[in-house]
């Protein structure tokens, strides 16, 4: 048992890295991208009725999100191999999986940001405008705090998605618990190892969900 756990220590750390490093990057990029989509839509922040530039920007960024959300992760992973090599300098190890994980999680978080912002009452945006807020202030002082609970629970969902993607990334040698369970547990017929690695993944998901819910409940004042 203890032997199993020590054997899984390294993969566990890899899984944590494969989850949280892309999570941070994707949340930041996704938030910015989602904000772009939201303000270029008919959101009441900018009058888009006669602004064709914004309308086109909105259509294009929406299309990018939809395309990257529908392409299977494994395909993105393989597509990105040459770029990864250029960017990270290698195609093995956890670092090599980061670009593809970011590319698949960013559009997801961008979509979640758009949804979270859409749930903010349009009247609140209107009131802020009436009080003299500019677009920057509306985004960071109104939309962001008002949609904080939704943005935080989206981080939790994105993190859990990343855990499952990271298991697939294991297939190309990124390591992690998923890879351990598959390569050493299943293929090399070591059921205890497979179950233990799987159990750790499940535990990780539970912990992230639990802590996330706790935080969301604390910040939700509605």
């Amino acid at each position: 048992m203890l032997g199993l756990l020590t054997k899984l220590k390294e993969p566990l750390i890899e899984t944590l890295l494969l989850t949280f490093v892309p999570l941070i990057i994707s949340v930041i990029l996704g938030f910015l991208f989602g904000t772009l989509v939201f303000i270029s839509s008919d959101s009441g922040i900018i009058d888009t009725s006669n602004n064709w530039g914004l309308k086109i920007l909105n259509k294009i960024s929406n299309a990018i999100i939809n395309i990257f959300r529908s392409v299977p992760y494994l395909i993105i992973l393989i597509w990105l191999l040459p770029i990864t090599k250029l960017l990270v300098g290698r195609i093995l190890g956890w670092q090599a999986a980061i670009p593809s994980l970011v590319v698949s999680a960013t559009p997801f978080y961008a979509r979640m940001t758009v949804i979270a912002f859409s749930e903010v009452n349009k009247g609140t945006i209107e009131a802020s405008k009436a009080l003299g807020a500019n677009n920057f202030e509306i985004i960071f002082k109104v939309l962001l705090p008002e949609s904080k609970p939704a943005l935080l629970s989206s981080i939790v969902v994105t993190a859990i998605n990343l855990i499952s993607y990271s298991a697939m990334a294991g297939a190309i040698g990124a390591g992690g618990l998923g890879y351990e369970a598959y390569q050493y547990g299943l293929i090399r017929e070591n059921p205890p190892l497979m179950y233990m690695a799987t159990l750790l993944i499940v535990l990780l998901v539970f912990i992230i969900q639990f802590v996330g819910d706790l935080i969301v409940r604390k910040v939700d004042k509605r």
Binding site: N121, T124, A127, K129, L131, G132, K141, E146
Partner: protein, 336 residues
């Protein structure tokens, strides 16, 4: 203070909606001006043109001589800080406490934290929320939420307050309280208030002047007492009748006629100039006509009391001189 000159606004789309059609209004300094009309009349659009939440297609809106339609960017935002606004659904920041909500305009203005708090607390006291500073709006009642919104709108010391159906989501008692608060603010701060409502009663209670709006146009405007005394547009009459007695006037007339089939039944409308004096009594005394008041409903407004009295006079009496005398005194009389 606010001059709306020939303003029009059409919403473009599959079917163009012409919301405001060539409207002109003059709102004087320190005045409470009400715009009343059914939903879809264009009131909401009109009030949003005043602080440019909607852009007008044509016309001018002068605020202290400056056309707000011409302003853009920073200049527009500065001007907006001179115009407070409150809404039907309060539109508060639900993630922020009462104090933080009231402070929000001061944050936007870039005031230091200490001054922000002082100003906001002062304003919270003004609206009676000093013991709710640290709670979140979701725990407040409707009336309290609107008080937060009022404090937030007034914390920058604006010259104008726009009220968009501010009491329409509140119960009658709370409506009364909020209207009292607005009246107090109008007096204390010399604030000009422009309010829209679909309820004539709300307008009549606190406004000095009113305009009736239908289908994007102003159909009638004037001082509240003049319009109540002599409405000309059918829509105005209809709206006033919902206020006069709280019951259907036509129904009341029919009921009274049923009850007093003999003799003369008169419906007399009082306005501010007439209600303070014992006119009815002196005329009855002078002409020696015994009158019987069968129904009366008087309401207090900013201008004085307004209302309707039904009187009954026995058949054998000639009511000609009586009617002439009443009209001489400026009362509006109808024989039912």
């Amino acid at each position: 203070m606010i001059s709306i000159i020939n303003v029009s606004k059409t919403f473009k789309g599959k079917n163009d909606v012409s919301a405001v059609k060539n409207v002109s209004l003059e709102i004087k300094d320190k005045e409470i001006f009400g715009i009343v009309g059914y939903s879809g009349a264009g009131k909401s659009t009109l009030i949003r043109l005043v602080n440019q939440l909607e852009k007008a297609d044509s016309g001018q809106i002068l605020i202290d001589g400056v056309d707000i339609c011409e302003l853009k960017g920073e200049a527009l935002r500065k001007q907006r800080q001179e115009i407070g606004m409150i809404f039907q659904h309060f539109n508060l920041l639900w993630s922020k406490t009462v104090l933080e909500n009231i402070m929000f305009p001061l944050v936007l203005k870039g005031l230091p934290k200490k001054e922000r708090e002082e100003e906001a607390i002062k304003m919270a006291k003004e609206v009676g929320l000093e013991d709710k500073l640290d709670v979140y709006p979701s725990t407040l009642s409707g009336g309290q939420k609107q008080r937060v919104a009022i404090a937030r709108a007034l914390v920058l010391n604006p010259k104008i307050l726009l009220c968009d159906e501010a009491t329409s989501a509140l119960d009658p008692k709370t409506t009364e309280e909020i209207l009292e608060l607005l009246k107090k603010i109008n007096k204390e701060y010399g604030l000009t208030i422009l309010m829209i409502s679909h309820q004539m009663e709300t307008i009549q209670k606190i406004c000095h002047k009113l305009a009736v709006m239908a289908d994007g146009k102003i159909v009638e405007q004037g001082s509240v007492d003049d319009i109540f005394a002599n409405p000309t547009d059918p829509l105005t009459k209809e709206l006033i009748q919902t206020v006069d007695t709280g019951v259907d006037v036509n129904k009341l007339s029919i009921e009274l006629k049923d009850k007093y089939p003999q003799g003369h039944l008169l419906r007399i409308t009082f306005s501010d100039k007439t209600s303070e004096k014992p006119i009815l009594y002196s005329i009855a005394l002078k002409l020696n006509i015994p009158i019987n008041i069968v129904s009366a409903n008087l309401k207090m407004t900013q201008a004085g009391s307004l209302g309707v009295i039904y009187i009954h006079i026995e058949e054998k009496k000639d009511i000609g001189p009586f009617l002439a005398e009443l009209e001489l005194q400026g009362l509006k009389v109808e024989v039912v």
